[in-house]
């Protein structure tokens, strides 16, 4: 399979088959241009929750009894879903979008993004692998 978009369609089909759930991205509204207050930490940003799917959500590090270890999770995300959001919110790229996301709402938990990697085949990105850290990390 090497046609244009074939990898993306295959990944979408697999993500749907393996769960195909949706999560919410907690995205901050754009900054105010030239506002020094925001730059020095006086701003109060507003947020919008944007639906992202299909995704597969899974835990990648099981608890081992070490109470200081934060749970880590992984989100496998469809490129087509990411591109829809990148386009509608006018971000430069998927990396910039995830860099700006304040959290990912999964069921009742807000998880933080710690890494983003791309999976490619035949020079085409077909999947984003988003590393997340659990809410228990904030309570440590």
């Amino acid at each position: 399979m090497s046609g244009a978009g074939a990898g993306v369609r295959m990944a979408d089909a697999l993500l749907q088959t393996l769960g195909g759930r949706t999560v919410l991205l907690h995205v901050p509204s754009p900054a105010v241009e030239g506002d020094a207050g925001e730059q020095v930490g006086l701003g109060v940003p507003s947020f919008q929750d944007v639906e992202l799917g299909p995704v597969v959500f899974r835990r990648v590090l099981a608890g081992s009894g070490d109470k200081t270890a934060a749970a880590r999770y992984e989100l496998l995300v469809s490129v087509s879903a990411v591109q829809r959001i990148v386009g509608s919110l006018a971000y430069d790229s998927a990396e910039v979008l995830f860099q700006n996301v304040a959290g990912v709402l999964v069921d009742a938990d807000v998880l933080r993004v710690v890494s983003v990697t791309r999976a490619e085949a035949f020079g085409e990105v077909y999947l984003y692998r988003v590393g997340l850290i659990g809410p228990d990390a904030a309570a440590l």
């Binding site: 509204s29 900054a31 207050g37 020095v40 430069d92 860099q99």
Partner: protein, 168 residues
């Protein structure tokens, strides 16, 4: 007269931002959809934007670390981290040159006389816009000390330090 460490930090940031904008206007960073001079204070941004691995490239990230008082002089330690992976056109082979350009921009912004600025207090107005008022004091800073460059994957990073002073 009350003393606010925050005013010292804000004054140094604003001075560095304005000097970088004047001396290296091509260095810019996109923060929440808005282009700014390529300097951010990590503690003033959303937590996600300071995450290692996806932190902004080609941008000076200020981290306020130490604070000490020495016979009426407050000394604030500032660590400035920056990294670049060069340009896409050169397939990253120019990342060393890009880092040198950032070194030069930082040294010029910090070490060009005068190494001081009028201390300002930034406050929010009712309409939401920020107001900058001077306090009558001055904020001083040292020369910048550049640490070793570290090659991490396709990016090359450096950590620099500056001490910022103000009389209490």
């Amino acid at each position: 007269m009350s003393f606010e460490f925050e005013d010292v930090k804000d004054t140094f940031y604003l001075a560095l931002r304005d000097r970088l904008a004047a001396g290296a206007p091509s260095l810019q960073v996109l923060v929440r959809g808005v282009l700014r001079p390529a300097v951010v204070v990590a503690e003033n941004e959303l937590p996600g934007s300071a995450v290692d691995g996806i932190a902004p490239l080609n941008c000076f990230c200020l981290h306020w670390t130490s604070v000490r008082l020495d016979r009426g002089l407050s000394v604030l330690g500032c660590v400035i981290r920056y990294a670049t992976d060069g340009s896409a056109g050169a397939a990253g082979m120019d990342r060393g040159r890009a880092l040198s350009a950032m070194d030069a921009a930082l040294v010029s912004a910090v070490s060009t006389a005068p190494q001081n600025a009028a201390q300002v207090t930034v406050s929010e107005a009712a309409a939401g816009a920020a107001i900058e008022t001077t306090t009558g004091q001055r904020v001083f800073w040292s020369d910048v000390a550049l640490g070793d460059a570290v090659l991490r994957g396709e990016r090359v990073e450096r950590m620099a330090t500056v001490e910022v002073y103000c009389y209490v």
